[in-house]
């Protein structure tokens, strides 16, 4: 493989994994300098471009640490919820501080979705108290979209609801989509998108306009590896500005990407 094509593949791989253009340019210039001066082949020194790109990405976005001293934006205690005589939520407590990503984990049927629906007030809990400082965004486990509207129309609708102009909503939605490794401009109706892309649209419509707390139910369902990585980078950047996220997921990497983990289950909590 010639150095030029190696560099191009490397840059593409960095781009696909969501690294910003200035960072990519620096990495490329540095490697080009090295190759020129040493008159060496990129493949010999750096190995396969996509593998090397992945190792660089990992260094650029280390796993986040919790930020325990931010103000609490969401605090729920003593949540109970039953369905047809079966207790799904039994005295569940959740707290999310500014800067925190709370992962809600648990087996299928453990009540992850029920908890998020209760927090979002879509399907209120039978008992318990919920306090939320500020506004909420919510992406349900499935759906939550109008099948007959395009992604850009969704951006306008949800961004407009949070006070953005149509142009601003469109720009922010397209930027979030780009950060999630998806070019949403000109995309077809939501009903014609693939499963993973629909999840991206649900996540974007939850994030757009910057609510203080975002509740995401299985957001990465159907994401490919690069998209999954992009999602966590987007969410990490997003909570840095003093916001909080609660993410329900059964995927193992959620535990490493979140700042706090809450396990819920049949028997007890925490």
């Amino acid at each position: 493989m010639r150095n030029e094509s190696w560099i191009r593949s490397f840059d593409d791989a960095l781009h696909a994994q969501g690294l910003a253009a200035p960072d990519r340019a620096e990495l490329v210039v540095e490697i080009e300098g090295f190759l020129d001066e040493g008159a060496t082949m990129a493949l010999d020194h750096f190995g396969a471009p996509d593998v090397y790109a992945a190792s660089i990405i990992e260094l650029h976005h280390p796993t986040r640490r919790p930020s325990p001293d931010g103000p609490a934006l969401l605090a729920a205690t003593g949540l109970h919820k039953g369905f047809r005589g079966r207790t799904v939520l039994d005295d569940v407590a959740v707290q999310a501080r500014a800067g925190e990503i709370v992962a809600v984990i648990g087996a299928n049927g453990s009540g992850k979705s029920t908890l998020l629906r209760a927090l979002a007030d879509i399907d209120p809990a039978d008992r318990g108290s919920i306090a939320i400082a500020g506004s909420i965004g919510y992406a349900p486990q499935s759906g939550g979209l109008d099948e007959r509207l395009t992604p850009v129309e969704h951006f306008e609708l949800f961004g407009g609801t949070r006070g953005l102009s149509r142009a601003a909503a469109r720009a922010e939605g397209l930027r979030l989509a780009h950060d999630l490794a998806w070019e949403a401009d000109g995309a077809p109706l939501a009903g014609e998108l693939s499963g993973g892309t629909r999840r991206k649209l649900a996540v974007i419509t939850a994030l757009i306009g910057g609510p203080d707390v975002v509740l995401l139910d299985e957001p990465c369902q159907g994401f490919d590896g690069a998209s999954n990585r992009c999602f966590w980078d987007v969410l990490s950047d997003w909570v840095v500005d003093g916001r909080a996220a609660v993410v329900a997921s059964h995927l193992p990497d959620v535990v490493h990407r979140a700042t706090t983990v809450l396990e819920i289950g049949e028997v007890a909590v925490r």
Binding site: E26, E30, I31, L35, H45, G47
Partner: protein
């Protein structure tokens, strides 16, 4: 692969070596690679060198600075931070202890083992 494979332990000592080289003053990537080779430490492929530099940078031990090159697009120079100097000082001591311990084990001279394991105290 046309370059010689680095020795297996090089990976572990690469970061301290880079800190040591930079104690003499700032340098850029290729320059560091030639100096490592001249010092007899071995040929370090760029694919090991730059991630090591990036790790040190992310830990705040190095600070990078872009300088205009001679007609080229510029070079990224790395310099030690105060934190980097502290880390180097600490690692000099730690390495000396470790190296003598390794030497002792490799040569079978267990009596010469590190502080802590003085003289006959080492179990036979």
């Amino acid at each position: 692969m046309t370059t010689t494979e680095p020795a297996p332990w090089l990976r572990g000592v690469l970061e301290p070596c880079l800190l040591g080289l930079l104690a003499d003053g700032e340098a850029y990537g290729y320059e560091l690679s030639t100096r490592l080779e001249e010092a007899g430490i071995g040929t370090v492929p760029g694919g090991s060198l730059y991630p090591a530099l990036l790790r040190l940078e992310k830990r705040g031990l190095l600070t990078p600075q872009w300088r205009a090159g001679d007609g080229g697009p510029g070079r990224k120079y790395y310099a030690l931070t105060a934190e980097g100097r502290r880390s180097l000082a600490h690692q000099r001591v730690a390495w000396a202890e470790f190296a003598s311990a390794v030497t002792a084990v490799l040569t079978g001279d267990r009596r010469a083992v590190t502080p802590g394991g003085v003289d006959g105290e080492v179990a036979r």
